[in-house]
């Protein structure tokens, strides 16, 4: 379980207590911890004087504001048409093989979560994926193995 005490307070300090600060605050928590715990959402709700259900409802609208536990590195493989045409399934297979998890899963060491996502704007270099914020394109099995190994050793 991560500590949100200072993080939420710091983010609120930085972005303010208005409703329009909600997104940057939630994004700031996710940037640091990859997902939003219930405790963090409740704390944000109290700081911004809105209901916790509204914080959850807003977060759950955005696919990058996860409210379920995620690994340190969140892999999002594009599943939209061009990537699907250009070998997205092989990308998923390669990732499932190397990480030993299925889509939606998180490795037992808490390092990787494997997800799919919608078009991320790399169709001309399909197939593509994001690891946290970093895009990787024109993926092949070999390339994927190398990328993941690099992350494992980070």
């Amino acid at each position: 379980m991560y500590q949100t005490d200072n993080l939420v307070k710091d983010l609120v300090e930085k972005h303010g207590r208005q409703r329009d600060s909600l997104m940057p605050i939630l994004q700031g928590i996710v940037e640091k911890h990859n997902y939003l715990t219930d405790e963090a959402m409740v704390e944000v709700a109290q700081e911004l004087d809105i209901s916790a259900a509204e914080v959850y409802g807003t977060a759950s609208f955005y696919s990058f504001l996860d409210t379920e536990p995620r690994g340190k590195y969140v892999i999002r493989v594009c599943k939209t048409i061009t990537c699907a045409m250009k070998g997205k399934e092989e990308v998923i297979e390669a990732l499932e093989d190397i990480l030993k998890i299925k889509v939606g899963g998180t490795t037992s060491n808490g390092l990787f979560t494997l997800l799919e996502t919608n078009c991320m704007g790399w169709c001309h270099k399909a197939p593509a994926m994001l690891i946290n914020d970093i895009p990787y394109t024109e993926l092949t099995r070999e390339k994927i193995i190398k990328i993941i190994k690099d992350y494992m050793h980070k």
Binding site: D20, L65, C119, G121, C123, D133
Partner: protein, 386 residues
Amino acid sequence: METKKISKVDLIFEHIDPREVLTKAYGMTRDEIIDEILESGLKGRGGAGFPTGMKWKLCSEEKEKTKYIICNADEGEPGTFKDREILDRVAYKVYAGMTIAGKAVGAKKGIIYLRGEYKFLLPQLRMQLDGFLKMSNEIGYDFEIDFRLGSGAYICGEESALFESIEGKRGEPRNKPPYPTHSGLFGKPTVVNNVETLVNSVIILKYGSKKYKQMGTMFSTGAKVFSVSGDTPIPGIYELELGMSLLEFVKEFGDGDTKAVQVGGAAGFCVPRKLFASTVIGFEGVPTGGSMKLFNSSRSMYNVLHNYLEFFTEESCGQCTPCRVGCQQLLRGVESVKKRESKSTYLNELVKLADTMKIASKCGLGQSVGNAFKSIVENFREEIIY
């Protein structure tokens, strides 16, 4: 209908001295700037194609003190990636376009809503912005620019959903009217322009509307950045004059076996081979935000349609009935026809549903789902059923 040959241009990515255009615009009155943009015939490059000059004019006429210029960089339409490229290579032109728009409408604050998928660009964008603001201040502009990030929601590219998102809420489109130029972000008059549109406004001010209008056709002036992907040997970004026929386009970009082109992304139209020659790419024909996806004969149009419908089923905001439930019904419907759980004639019911979604949905997303659905089902019915 007039059609043009393929004509590549290099205006968007061409390096210019922004100081020159900004200084020129600084010396112009608000009306002069707006007139120039109106005169150019520039229409929004995000896909909807609203006349940019008109948008600026409407916002300019509003009496409110606080107004906003928003750069819509929530490029989420499947098959579109040109805005990322523009921001990566010539962000200063985007900043310049916003600054000029700000002067034209009387806004002092600009916000770039950048999709979360492009967050990796943010550090370089911020750095470039610092330099830009220094320069624009020197010229005399009093216009600030800020970034807001999306977090993975296609619908936030819809302008009123984008406002909701910036305001810290779920990205659910609002009822219109009121329109953004009257009541937009925080209820203030707001201009929302696509990344490419803003760069075009800079091009127009640099070269003049007369020269700009020489490109393209009467209804589709200028050039456009196309994002070309799918079954093409040369995927990538191309800046082309508007008004070419799809046949010309396929000759240039196809792999010799193109059976269909999806123009305008998942929200656009699927054009089959037999209609290539008669289809003009532009506002008089098939409009596009730039997404051009080519499919060759190895592709199943059922899979293409299924992929689009899954996309919309997930990316609909979910608030209005025709879109939320309609997308699910179209998706489950084609699946059940494919699996022979429903009769093939059920497709006719689904086409009628798609028509209802076009006219009864609350926003552009729901209204455009029917485009891809109808054009694929009507042109590739056999592939959907068998």
